[in-house]
């Protein structure tokens, strides 16, 4: 037996009624009202906290009631999914478990599942698309920031020759090219465009004292391209943004900041992982070309200890490629391995 308000489905008038379920029928009684409706023909809204339940009777009639337990008793086995969810929602233990589960599942999803899916998708994208991306990016950069290089032609030729010799043996080596630009607005920087063009700015070349240091930087950038980092980052970031926007809808008024902060942290996380991967590639390739990874560590130190006067030019590269102690340590470890392997045998 439970109390409710009966609506006739035609107007906003409510009539107070008493309902009782017995023998497959819901008996409804109120002032001047008495009738029955088959339980099997009544639709019941799922339970949710203390909110009212709506029983939809045939012919558009509705009974609204807040006696949730009585409704559940009269209509067992209804909305089984949401009945289960409702039970979970009422227990603090489930809430605590949900906090843990959310943290673990979200971390696993964003650090393992999503990168894995994005990387699989990246493999399916044809190389021609990537080359087109690179061309577009270069033409935009040329319009905005890159001007013809002022490095003497002989020096450019020499570096190009070293570069060609360096990429000859690697998979897809023929696709790789190196380009030099004067870019005061960008400062000392080197980056790989999708499709295999490696760009060095004049400021960067001036910081690099030897061809080996140039190769060390080039090898790192080739590593980015070999692992298709730009494409993978684009796919991961886009997925994070879309998922973030979907959840921001649920988050409601708190909106953008809530999504912006984790997105930023995630992007940073992906970038760091890619830097480490490109470093590893560079160490291996340098060693294969009889250049010690120590050169790489030296360049990193140069950025780390960049002279105050140089700061404005060196910062650009450093901000996208943090010269952390961790990276230097790894480079020096690789250098020790290299020396051990190349030591004159007794």
């Amino acid at each position: 037996m439970f109390a409710g308000a009966l609506y006739n489905g035609r107007d906003a008038n409510a009539v107070a009624v008493q309902c009782e379920a017995a023998d497959g029928v819901l008996r409804i009684r109120g002032a001047g009202i008495e009738f029955g409706a088959e339980l099997s023909r009544i639709k019941v809204s799922p339970r949710l906290a203390r909110t009212h339940r709506i029983l939809r009777l045939p012919d558009g009639l509705q009974v609204h009631t807040d006696d949730n337990d009585a409704v559940d008793a009269a209509f067992p086995q209804r909305n089984r999914l949401e009945a289960l969810v409702d039970r979970l929602e009422r227990h603090w233990r489930a809430a605590v478990a949900s906090v843990a589960l959310t943290l673990i599942a979200a971390t696993a999803f964003f650090t393992v599942v999503l990168p894995w899916l994005a990387d699989r998708a990246a493999q399916k994208i044809p190389f021609a698309v990537e080359r087109e991306m690179g061309k577009q990016a270069l033409s935009v950069l040329q319009r905005l920031a890159l001007k013809p290089s002022t490095i003497p032609e002989e020096r450019q030729q020499a570096l190009r020759a070293r570069f060609v010799g360096f990429v000859r043996g690697i998979p897809g080596g023929a696709e790789y090219a190196v380009d030099f630009f004067s870019a005061p607005g960008i400062g000392a920087n080197a980056f790989a465009l999708p499709g295999g063009t490696i760009v060095f700015t004049d400021d960067m070349l001036q910081m690099l004292q030897s061809d080996d240091e140039f190769l060390a930087m080039a090898a790192h950038e080739i590593g980015h391209e070999q692992h298709r980092h730009v494409l993978r980052l684009v796919l991961r970031d886009s997925a994070v943004v879309v998922i973030g926007a979907l959840f921001a809808g649920d988050v409601g008024s708190a909106g953008t900041l809530v999504v912006a902060v984790p997105t930023f942290l995630l992007e940073n996380h992906y970038t760091r992982a890619f830097e480490a991967e490109a470093d590893e590639y560079a160490f291996t390739q340098l060693a294969a070309h009889a250049v010690s990874p120590q050169v790489f560590a030296d360049v990193m130190r140069k950025f780390e200890a960049a002279h105050p006067e140089l700061k404005d030019t060196s910062m650009a590269y450093a901000s996208s490629h943090p010269p952390t102690q961790e990276r230097i340590t790894r480079a020096e470890q690789a250098a020790r391995d290299y020396s051990a392997a190349h030591a004159p045998r007794p």
Binding site: D11, A14, D250, S253, L257, D312
Partner: protein, 362 residues
Amino acid sequence: MSTVELPPSAAQNELRLPESAPGFIEHPFQFTGDTREFFRIWIVNLALSIVTLGIYSAWAKVRTNRYFYANTWVAGAPFQYLAQPIPILKGRIIAAGVFGSYALAGHFSTKLQLALAGGIALIVPWMVVRGLRFHARYSAWRSLNFRFVGGYGAAYLRYLVIPLLVIPFTLGFAYAYVKWQQRRFVVEGHRFGGKEFKFHATSGDFFPPYLAAIGLGFLWVIFVVVVMMSVVFAGAHAGPPEKWKIYSVAAFEYAGFFLIGIYVVARVTNLVYNKTELDGHRLQSSLRARDLMALYVGNTFAILFSAGLLIPWAMVRMAKYRASCLTLLASGDLDTFVAVASAEENATGAEMDVLFDVDLGF
């Protein structure tokens, strides 16, 4: 029934009632949700959404909306949210597909992204109408559904043609006029219980809040530039300033725009509600810009420093405040509303507006 026109400065925080309303019965809105209760609902549904890779999120949305509707009471009865999860799930999949291709396109080809942006701009009015129809169709009070009957032609006029024609030629000053057109379209397109909503605001009513916001925005930019010059670059040695200084000035500047935005929300929301009529019944909204700012700022920091765990607290707090500022002024019997049949609606437009942040107002 006339409202008292106050000069903008005085009207800023209290928009007065339609003449202390003789003959009106006041029915204050009330939000009865509970933070602890909603926290459990929120976190359980979030966890389920994540472990089902987002599929359950449609159910989560329905339960969340049902909780907020069913805990919002007026005149002795709660609101009801009646949408079903499956149409919402379908809408979400389509919306995520469109939004995803837009987000991706920019990385591959700027032309493609521009084309997509143009395409999306072309369907915004369609999204607005679909979204309004969906929300109205599945919102109810005392067993009667709301309805939205505004047409596509009118929506294209107000959300595409008029903005494109008017805003560029007036350097943006006609923005208030465009907003008025849109709000009028939204309010007057709604029906409840067989009765039409009427909108009594004139385009002139919309200019003070938006002009005030533009003025405040200019003053703020000048102030920020002065602060930046004097604090950041004072005694600066050669070379550009450090990064954190640039970022904090930018953050400072955005914080100002954020507060100005909230000021506009408070004033325009009050304006829209106070000038809305349904069959002789009126609404009275008394949001105060400074209360709303305190709420938003407090919520933002609480959410950031709790790693998101205080989101439900923030949502309940906001709903409580908003309900506490809204009163239904009934001109008589509320039992006279009658049911009008309306067709089912799909959720595609309704889900897209969330992703593309279309301002549906109301």
